[in-house]
Amino acid sequence: MFRTLTVLVENNPGVLTRVASLFSRRGYNIDSLAVGQTENPSISRMTIVVEEGDKVIEQVTKQLHKLIDVIKVSDITEEEYVDRELILIKTDADPSVRGEIMQIVEIFRARIVDIGQNTLTIEATGDEGKIRAIIEALRPFRIRELVRTGKIAMLRGSRFNTVENGN
């Protein structure tokens, strides 16, 4: 099962290595990891998607906690949250199929950001479901290249996932 963890860490050099090597050393599977500074420049937030069972997730969470540079770990999988991912897809697109691709792009409210002789580059943002769906929709046209940022997530409403606020 996929689990979404948001992890607040000290914005120190080496913290990404610490987290990444923890995953590789203990053999946990990372699906995606996105990291960047938060509203507080001394803190970074990582959104980590892990594909593991409950027992392993418990260990992952505890091992993350054990890192001194990790300030807070929350498993938000069961919570109400907004999540987004940005992807770029370069697909084969000779003139005969361009119209069809543009329709798909329209439906997903994605954008065409570049055109090559026989290719189109599409930018899409969305939650997990939407990203999966657009990839599937474009697959028949032959996807040549795909880049994704990894998922970022935030709790809904007036609930916060910051150092100051609750667990």
Binding site: V9, E10, P13, G14, T17, R18, S21, R25, K55, E58, Q59, K62, Q63, H65, K66, L67, I68, D69, V70, I71, K72, V163
Partner: protein, 555 residues
Amino acid sequence: MKQSGAQILIKCLEEEKVRAIFGYPGGAVLDIYDALYDSSLKHFLVRHEQGAAHAADGYARATGKPGVCLATSGPGATNLVTGLANAYMDSIPMVAFTGQVATHMIGRDSFQEADIYGITLPITKHNFLVKDVKELPRVVKESFHLATTGRPGPVLIDLPKDVCQEKTDLKYPKVSQLRGYRPVLDGHPEKISEAAAAITGARRPVICAGGGAISSGSSEVLRQLAELCAIPVTTTLMGKGVFPENHPLSLGMLGMHGTKYANYAVNECDLLITIGARFSDRVTVRADAFAPKARIIHIDIDPAEIGKNVQVDIPIVGDVKRVLEQLCQVVQARTETEEWSAKIREWKDKYPLRYHHNGKIKPQFVIEQIYEVTGGNAIIATEVGQNQMWAAQFYTFTKPRTFISSGGLGTMGFGLPAAIGAQIGRPGETVFNIAGDGSIQMNIQELATAADYKLPLKVAILNNNYLGMVRQWQDIFYNGRLAYSDISGPDYVKLAEAYGAVGMQVTRPEDVRRALQKAMQVEDRPVLIDFLVDRKENVFPMIPPEGTISKMLEE
């Protein structure tokens, strides 16, 4: 007044009340050594940086205070690696300082540059690369705090040469403020009552105490709980000495080479109370068949240990000593204790640890003699292999911090430098290193250190001319194909004398005691005794790897 980074470092160490530094100089730490020259801090010059790390480790184990070591960049730093990994596996508080090339030289493969920060990430509790001298006091404060609190462990600070030279004002912080580090100390009251009820209701309880019970200083409260509720106590290798092994409730050590009665008791118990231990595979042997009839209470300061190797029923995260105190306050004595006690007595009578005399020097006999000659009051360091297991089995440990042995990493070459650290930390005590002939050759150079500082420590080599534990496994599991386990050594008497130590060789059982007594009389230098022991002796009982108690091998 502005001071250099190196001077600031020394001041910080004085603030931390560091009494001993084990180290070895080199280009990148010359500023630190220069600052040491004016300091009252006592520095001990080892002969190899691995020796410095193990000596700091042994010092910490024997005293409970953090061990400090210092090495230069590059090879000096990499020589510390085994020592750090060793301390990390056994949760020993240590602070290691390494020199580093100047900040503007980092990343250019400069002379004697090694990424020791990267190398030691997975084998330290935490580590730092200091890039600005202004951060140095805070980093030192945090390092000592991290090393000694929560689950203890080694911390490394990498110090570029220019940071040691740069000048600034020293402001040593009073406390460290790490928002990502807040060890839980008190046990959760609900879990405490749950555990207390489980203990009172248990018919066949067993306590298993590990290294965490020693590092938290829990011997007394542990004994109180055990006696109050008549619970037999076994210990892991790391827990040796936390509960007196001559106590009627003691089961000695459990696990692969544990006593038969400890393993029987754990196998039959209905409640296992594991205290400051981590269910290592040398204890459980087969985790899914460990304590099969028991509910398990697991008390540990490190939440990540809960459920890591073995599923537990009542986890209590907290400082072991505090949790035990909390437990003692609420637990009610058990009422029906006699049946289980009788069973334990029966096992202890029926299956004592034993060995047979055959006219040769039995290694176990040497250990027993060391126990007698020292009145059981010595600090015993060990190397790794059969010597270590026999020391654990045949010396009766009654006090914490008297058994100093590499548990998790199993590092040959640990014993001698660790004994040096222990002797320096506790100068009035008798310190023995029980060694194998293979292991002693891994850090034999430290005999020079011991002689230099006139340390009266004793090295007892159980010389079987084998990598004995390897030979034992080859005999049992590899059809006696002894591939490269037959090892030779030097003339140890000459060697000892060459280093300025006293050397003796003992070849007959009847001379063992006299040699030991003679060794006890030497007070101004190390003594090394080469005991030529029965070569083919094995360590028993033994539960083979992945085996269960029913597969136990005996002599």
